[in-house]
Symmetry: C2
Subunit: 220 residues, 2 copies
C-alpha cells in the first residue's frame, strides 16, 4: 500500500511520515527545493526519509519567480512574536499557493507509483494563518484531484490525508513521542544560521519550543 508523503524535514511533516509508516504505508517522501531561505530543512528531509526507509525525491521549483514571501524573498522573517500576534493576520512567511503546488506534484507522483493516499502535515495552528491549511481547502483539493488524473478516471480514489489537522503543536509532539520520532533530526526554523542552527525567535521556533514545553517532552 503506497502513499506519497510531503516531507519538509520539519517537525510536523516528519511526524506525519512516521504516522503513515506506523499505519503500514510504503512511503514515497516528496520534498521541494523552492528557493527557501531555510534550506537546512532539505538536509533534514533526506535524513528523515532514510530513517523511515522512504524513497525520497526533491523537486526543484522556482517559487522565487513570483516572489512575495519572507520565506523566499529578502523580506525580514518576524521574530519574537507571541501567538496572538501570529494569529492576527496571514503571515509574511505565506508563500502564494504553496500547498496547492506541493499537492499537485504529490498527485503526479501518486499517479505514477500507484499510490491512493497523499499525506500532508497541515495542522490547527497553521490554519489560523495559512488559508491552504484548512480542512475545507484540503477537501476541495481532494475533490479536484479525483477528477484530474487518469488513475481517477480509471476508478482509483485519491485521498488527501491530514492526520495532524486537529492537533496543537503539543499534540503533535506527543503523537511523535509515542511513535519514537527522532525529533533531533528535524528542522523547523525559518531563519537558521548558515550552519543550520535554529534562531530560536521566529514563529516556527517559538511554536516548536512551546509545543515541547507543553507536551513535557525534551527537544534534543
Amino acid at each position: 500500500m503506497k502513499a506519497v508523503c510531503l516531507l519538509s524535514g520539519g517537525l510536523d511533516s516528519t511526524v506525519c511520515l512516521a504516522y503513515a509508516r506506523t499505519h503500514g504505508y510504503d512511503a514515497c517522501a516528496l520534498s521541494f527545493d523552492y528557493g527557501q531561505r531555510h534550506r537546512a530543512e532539505l538536509k533534514s528531509a533526506a535524513i528523515v526519509a532514510e530513517v523511515y526507509g522512504a524513497e525520497h525525491r526533491v523537486v526543484k521549483i522556482d517559487l522565487r519567480a513570483f516572489g512575495h514571501s519572507a520565506l523566499t524573498d529578502d523580506i525580514a522573517v518576524p521574530k519574537g512574536r507571541d501567538e496572538a500576534q501570529m494569529g492576527a493576520e496571514i503571515p509574511v512567511t505565506y508563500v502564494p499557493a504553496r500547498n496547492t503546488i506541493f499537492l499537485s506534484f504529490a498527485l503526479a507522483w501518486a499517479e505514477v507509483v500507484g499510490a491512493g493516499d497523499i499525506f500532508i502535515g497541515v495542522n490547527a495552528l497553521d490554519y489560523s494563518g495559512y488559508p491552504d491549511c484548512r480542512l475545507e481547502y484540503i477537501r476541495a483539493f481532494e475533490e479536484m484531484a479525483n477528477l484530474a488524473t487518469k488513475a481517477a478516471v480509471e476508478g482509483r480514489v485519491i485521498r488527501i490525508r491530514t492526520p495532524l489537522i486537529t492537533l496543537s503543536k503539543a499534540g503533535i509532539v506527543r503523537l511523535g513521542a509515542e511513535m519514537g520520532v527522532p525529533f533531533g533530526l528535524t528542522h523547523s526554523c525559518y531563519d537558521p544560521s548558515p550552519e543550520g542552527k535554529a534562531c530560536g525567535a521566529c514563529d516556527a521556533c517559538v511554536l516548536r519550543a512551546k509545543g515541547f514545553r507543553e507536551a513535557g517532552v525534551e527537544d534534543r
Copy 2:
C-alpha cells in the same frame, strides 16, 4: 484588469491569449520548461507573448522526476493515427497531473499580480483523452482555488477561464483567424526535428492540419 494566461506557444494557448487581450485583459503569460521533447514551443511562446505585449515568465519544473509520458520520456510519440484511434484511450502523451501543476503555478502568479482571471486553452478535442481538460475538472479546480489563497480569503474571486472548451480545432482556427492570430508563429508538434520543424504525423500535427483544412484557413 489583469489575467494570467497559460501559454505553451501552441495554437490553442495562443488563440486563448489573443482572446484575453481582445477582451481587454492585461495579460501575464506563463510557460513551463518541463523537460518536454518539443522545446521548440518555448521559443514560440516567447515570440507570441511579445507580439501580444504580455509579460512572460517561464517556470522550470522537473516533471521528468516522475516520468511516465511520451512528452517527457523516451516512449515513442504515436504517429499517423486517426481521430478514432486518438479518442480510444488516454494517450501516452498524457503527463500526470500536468494541468493541475500548471494551474497551481498560475494561481500563485495570479495572487502576486492581483489577477482575478486565469486563462487556459483546454478544448473539446483534448478532453476526449486528457481527464484534466474537462469542464468538470476545471470547475473543481476553481472551487479549490477560491479556498487556497490569501486573495480568496480576502474576497478576491478567482475564475478559471476556458474560452475554447467547446470548440473543435476548426472552431479554434476560425476564432483565431477572426482575431488575426499570427498562426505561423505558433508551434504544435509533439516531436519536432532538432531545428523545430513539425513532423506532420503526430496527433498534434494531424489535428492541427485537419482543423485548418476544415476551417478553410491556410496554415502558414
